[in-house]
Symmetry: C2
Subunit: 344 residues, 2 copies
């Protein structure tokens, strides 16, 4: 089921062709994360390793590295920050899986399922601390102190925004609030914030000026929203085996994602009733998911969701216009296109 370290990494890397530019460095990030939690004397190491290895798609480390390159910086200087970006992301997954009661993550048992909720809370905390420890390690790779402090500042801010997004998502779902604007604000906080943190941090540590940091921040904001919308689509268009996480999670947790919000906008009163029922958390999740898919297809909500993902992806590409023409800029543009054309 679970792939071994390198095999899993290779599989993950094949998801997006655009990362080839920094592929050797991503190999180093992956190896660094694999070896990071092996020297300790507590089972905290097993838990953090379980969460981090084998690596996922490594989107956030890629963004750190490419952002540093896109502002004319040295990707090696930001390597520790790239590792930290993955730790911070995985921390949020570990805590999310507790909240969503998800038993599978990246094709194997989630941390809470394997080690229990209490341990998973602590392991997630440790990974947040390690995000910041990794950032501090950029001293050793030659980043200027002033740049490191600036990176700390943006990453901490984006972390708090992530938390705001998580709370907001819970509120939207509890209120059964089929509100497109609220959803987009939430996606900007919940998903785009860590993308922004990764790009801003890479650009700052890479020595970028304010305009470059701002351009990459806008890129990440739009990329993150496009990414979340596509993720929401996958829950209704791909199965557990393909995604590596439960395909019924969104239905079981009554998530008001963009596909169901659009279906609610486009559907008639019968559709609305069926959508509300399907997301109530009652009944068989697989049957509820299938019923929702029928409505999403008939109302054109799936197609509409795809169009919105494409819109944000294009806006992400447009934001890159403020950067010098480099191979990294090209790869970031391709990345934004491929982020809405993936299976997992």
């Amino acid at each position: 089921m679970a792939k071994s370290g390198i095999e899993g990494d290779l599989q993950a890397r094949n998801v997006l062709s655009s990362i080839n530019g920094v592929a050797p460095l991503i190999m180093e990030v992956s190896a660094g994360l694999t070896g990071r939690w092996t020297g300790g004397h507590s089972s905290l190491d097993s838990m953090c390793s379980h969460a981090l290895v084998p690596s996922g798609k490594m989107f956030r480390p890629i963004l750190v590295l490419e952002s540093a390159l896109a502002v004319g910086g040295d990707a090696r200087v930001v390597l520790p920050a790239a590792m930290g970006a993955e730790s911070g992301h995985v921390a949020s997954l570990v805590h999310d899986d507790i909240i969503d009661d998800d038993e599978i993550r990246r094709g194997k048992p989630s941390v809470q399922h394997q080690f229990g909720v209490d341990n998973a809370i602590v392991a997630g905390d440790a990974l947040i601390f390690d995000l910041f420890l990794s950032l501090a390690e950029c001293r050793k790779t030659g980043a200027a102190d002033s740049r490191i402090v600036a990176a700390f500042d943006v990453v901490a801010r984006r972390g708090i925004e992530l938390c705001r997004g998580q709370i907001m998502e819970a509120e939207i779902c509890e209120r059964m609030d089929f509100d497109r604007e609220a959803y987009l604000t939430m996606a900007g906080l919940k998903t785009a914030s860590l993308f922004k943190g990764a790009c801003e941090c890479g650009a700052l540590l890479g020595g970028g000026d304010d305009a470059m940091v701002e351009a990459l921040s806008r890129y990440a904001e739009n990329l993150g929203i496009a990414f979340q919308i596509h993720d929401d689509l996958l829950s209704y268009t791909r199965e557990t085996g393909v995604m590596g996480k439960p395909d019924t999670s969104d239905v079981r947790n009554g998530r008001l994602t963009l596909p169901v919000i659009l279906a609610y906008e486009l559907g008639d009163s019968m559709d609305r009733l069926a959508i509300t029922d399907g997301l109530s958390g009652e009944g068989d999740p697989t049957a509820n998911r299938q019923a929702l898919i029928t409505i999403l297809e008939r109302t054109g909500a799936l197609a509409g969701t795809e169009r919105l993902a494409a819109h944000y992806s294009r806006q992400a590409v447009d934001a890159l216009a403020g950067l010098p023409v480099t191979l990294s800029r090209e790869r970031l543009a391709r990345f934004a296109e491929e982020a809405i054309d993936r299976d997992r």
Copy 2:
């Protein structure tokens, strides 16, 4: 029940007379924390405010401020770090209360009891991020960037140690491991690590040299262990109303604290059976606690625990010998004496 902000603060400050030296600054820290989570647009603010206000005993902010002063630094420079130390500490309380299923904290409902477990996980995360955001704010108060990065490094390391301590405590309790050495290692990680982080961070940001940072680190290590031992004592010698947290928590959670470990060492086979039974989590927690108290008193475990707390308190004072003679050094010494002479 719960005191209003300032009233609660005053009550908390009266716990230890030694803080009078930095009392006006602690007022500022308290006011800063009260106002910190008011501008946001999500209920995350309510949750974080609920956790932070009214303030607790403010031990960690005091340590940050006094450590800066003890190395000849400016306490105003480390004010944001002092706020961060409290946020980090409260983050660990919020997550601890989920793990221990504690419904009362600082005399009012714990965050998980008031807002639910899911929200409490996210609120704790936000407070960890805010610890680091606060540290970054020392740029504005005039700390050198190199010192801020060093402070980030030690605080992140100590945060991971805290997590190791929490996992280790769970393992000790699960194994019913009445091992004094394991307990002391665990207390060093779980409690002393944040004390160390506070002292090291204050000393670093205050411009202290390596020897001073090291002296304050040893002070904090011993203070933290003394503090934890005294906390363990309070669970068997004070009631809920005095402590502001449930007096049956340690019994209910089967905590192998120093008093019960000593009683297990000193008692006969009948005592050992009764101790194991009392900590099994079965039966009425209040009755179990009372039965344990009887054994703790009869075996001399309470007196033995007090002696060990005093030993670590003295070692903390001794560690201060490496620092220049200042009023802050005197206050830190008094602090170590009073830390094992408090009711809550």
